[in-house]
């Protein structure tokens, strides 16, 4: 009876050691995994509500063109104006919310849905849009273009 008890005690100790080792290992893993996921950058960078760094470099922006970029969950439009200025506006038309585009033939921002026109100050100049487009501030920092909300 005494020997059996001793054997049981040894088995129990071994099991306890194994159990402790396994749970401690799992515990370390449960800390390391989220930590590693946090350290690896996401596929697409998050933008804050107020500013975004564009993936395009200033020297890559073609003259008299426009391109859509992501400002949070909303589209923005970056335009290199005919006089060489970089300008950015919200790309959501103030009429029904379609995504606008830049038309180099008329040097205006244009909404294809209902033929709304905005000038290069974002002002609604033709068609149904009732309000101007919100303009963003564009800053070139080295080889980065940073677009931020004004005010």
């Amino acid at each position: 009876m005494g020997e059996r008890t001793l054997k049981e005690l040894i088995d129990r100790r071994n099991f306890l050691n194994w159990f402790l080792g396994t749970t401690a290992g799992a515990f370390v893993l449960s800390i390391l995994y989220p930590l590693s996921r946090y350290l690896i950058p996401p596929q697409v960078g998050e933008s804050t509500a107020r500013s975004v760094t564009l993936s395009v470099k200033p020297q890559e922006v073609k003259a008299n063109t426009g391109q859509i970029f992501r400002f949070g969950s909303q589209p923005g439009i970056l335009i290199d104006t005919p006089d060489g200025q970089l300008k950015a506006f919200t790309a959501t038309c103030t009429h029904l919310g379609c995504i606008v585009q830049y038309r180099s033939d008329i040097n205006q921002i244009w909404c294809a849905c209902h033929n709304g026109h905005f000038d290069l100050n974002g002002k609604n100049v033709e068609g149904p849009p009732p309000k101007p487009l919100e303009e963003y501030a564009v800053n070139v920092r080295g080889d980065q273009i940073v677009v931020s909300k004004k005010g």
Partner: protein, 423 residues
């Protein structure tokens, strides 16, 4: 009478000593206003009182500019025909008086180079002008009927009778008056109908002054009902894409052949309600049913187009719902929300593309929309999967921590038991 004479004399003295004679009467009424304002007869006093806020008075014009006469003369002789006094102009005389300056480009350029000078020419092309000129109809609107007589403001002034927010009341003063309009045998419910329209709603509730009011469709001075064949051009001024698609559609020709107006056949003319997808198709309240049944080719096309629109709208709603769920759960889904904008744009473009009345044309807009919507939905699914994974991971971590605590407690007990045995 004595008081009036005293007033004339006093004004005359002031005028002689303080104002150059050449501008008398050109300065907000001069002698005329000085006396007329104090006259007990409101009919004669009110014009002088109102005129001080009139745009013409502000620009330096006086009573004699329109009424003639001699403002430097403090006597009743100032209002003598010999001095050019014409009294209160009526009918064509009103148009002539206003047109004397407003049709003179050189003169008007001094005050507003951008102002048009063809108002009189346009007016005589209008139903009002034609009836006045050809029939001498005294009831039709002339310049002063719409612009007021002595309190004329610039159209951009919110107090102006022709400010966008007031045009409907100005036109409605006659056109909504059934008794006044009785001889003309035309409907008088336009104002009531217009005030139920999306245009009025946009103007009054959203403050969108570019929304059309009476003059935007009927013309300002050349006011007339648009002809059936060109009503689409009127609506197309703002709804350019829809107008262009319609003009190239098979409906455009057929409507002209049938003698029915383009846009107004489906959207009404004054009571233009907010559109919805329900207007399309072959089931109540679709407007296609007015001409088509579910069996004819047109009806089948309408039903097919409605199904396509519904499909994109439902897919967008589905994607939006899952993204809202993910977002409310704290997941970062801005990329997918960005993708959904593209799908929503496609839906709006599709709704405009309906006006081509072609399944093929509509499909070109619907397909990219469905693709963008599916991408956004997939992003939502991925975000929720990630959320579930994180929840499972938290639960598992909690279990591991619990097990570790239990293991540690047991180990401590075992170590304490061993120590006691050794003792």
């Amino acid at each position: 009478m004595r008081a009036t004479l005293r007033c004339f004399l006093l004004s005359g003295i002031v005028a002689i000593f303080f104002l150059p004679l050449t501008v008398l009467g050109q300065q907000q009424g001069g002698n005329c206003a000085a006396c007329h304002q104090s006259l007990p007869d409101e009919r004669l006093a009110q014009p002088a009182k109102l005129f001080s806020g009139d745009i013409h008075a502000i620009k330096g014009f006086g009573c004699v500019s329109c009424h003639g006469g001699d403002a430097s003369d403090p006597e009743m002789s100032a209002m003598s025909p010999a001095k050019g006094y014409i009294g209160k102009p009526t009918g064509t005389k009103i148009v002539e008086v206003c047109g004397r300056c407003h049709s003179d480009a050189n003169f008007m350029r001094q005050y507003n180079p951008a102002l048009r000078v063809d108002q009189v020419t346009e007016y005589y092309t209008s139903v009002h002008g034609r009836r006045l000129k050809e029939l001498g109809d005294p009831k039709v609107a002339t310049c002063s009927s719409c612009h007021h007589t002595h309190a004329i403001k610039a159209p951009s002034d919110p107090r102006s009778s022709v400010h966008p927010l007031h045009v409907v009341e100005t036109c409605g003063a006659c056109h909504a008056n059934a008794e006044y309009m009785k001889p003309y045998k035309i409907p008088t419910d336009q104002v009531d109908k217009y005030k139920k329209s999306v245009h009025w709603k946009m103007m009054t509730t959203k403050g969108d002054l570019s929304a059309p009011t009476c003059n935007d469709c009927h013309g300002n001075h050349g006011a007339a009902p648009p002809g059936i064949s060109w009503v689409g051009n009127i609506c197309g001024q703002c709804h350019a894409v829809n107008g262009e698609l319609f003009s190239k559609s098979r409906h455009a020709k057929v409507f002209i052949q049938l003698g029915i107006p383009g846009c107004a056949t489906c959207h009404d003319n004054h009571q233009i309600l907010e559109t919805s997808d329900n207007l399309l198709g072959t089931k109540e309240p679709a407007v296609c049913r007015n001409c088509h049944t579910g069996e004819d080719p047109g009806g089948k096309s309408a039903a097919a187009m409605r199904a396509m629109i519904d499909s994109l709208r439902q897919e967008n709603d589905k994607a939006n719902a899952i993204l809202v769920r993910a977002s409310h759960a704290g997941m970062e889904v801005s990329q997918s929300e960005f993708d959904l904008n593209e799908a929503q744009t496609a839906l709006i473009k599709s709704r405009a593309a309906i006006h081509a009345f072609s399944v093929v044309t509509l499909k070109k807009e619907i397909d990219p929309g469905l693709k963008a919507s599916a991408k956004a939905y997939a992003g939502g699914v991925k975000a929720l999967d990630e959320l579930n994974f994180r929840r499972r991971w938290v639960a598992l971590s909690a279990l591991i921590i619990l097990a570790l605590v239990v293991g540690l407690v047991l180990k401590i007990r075992q170590m304490e038991g061993g120590q006691k045995n050794r003792e």
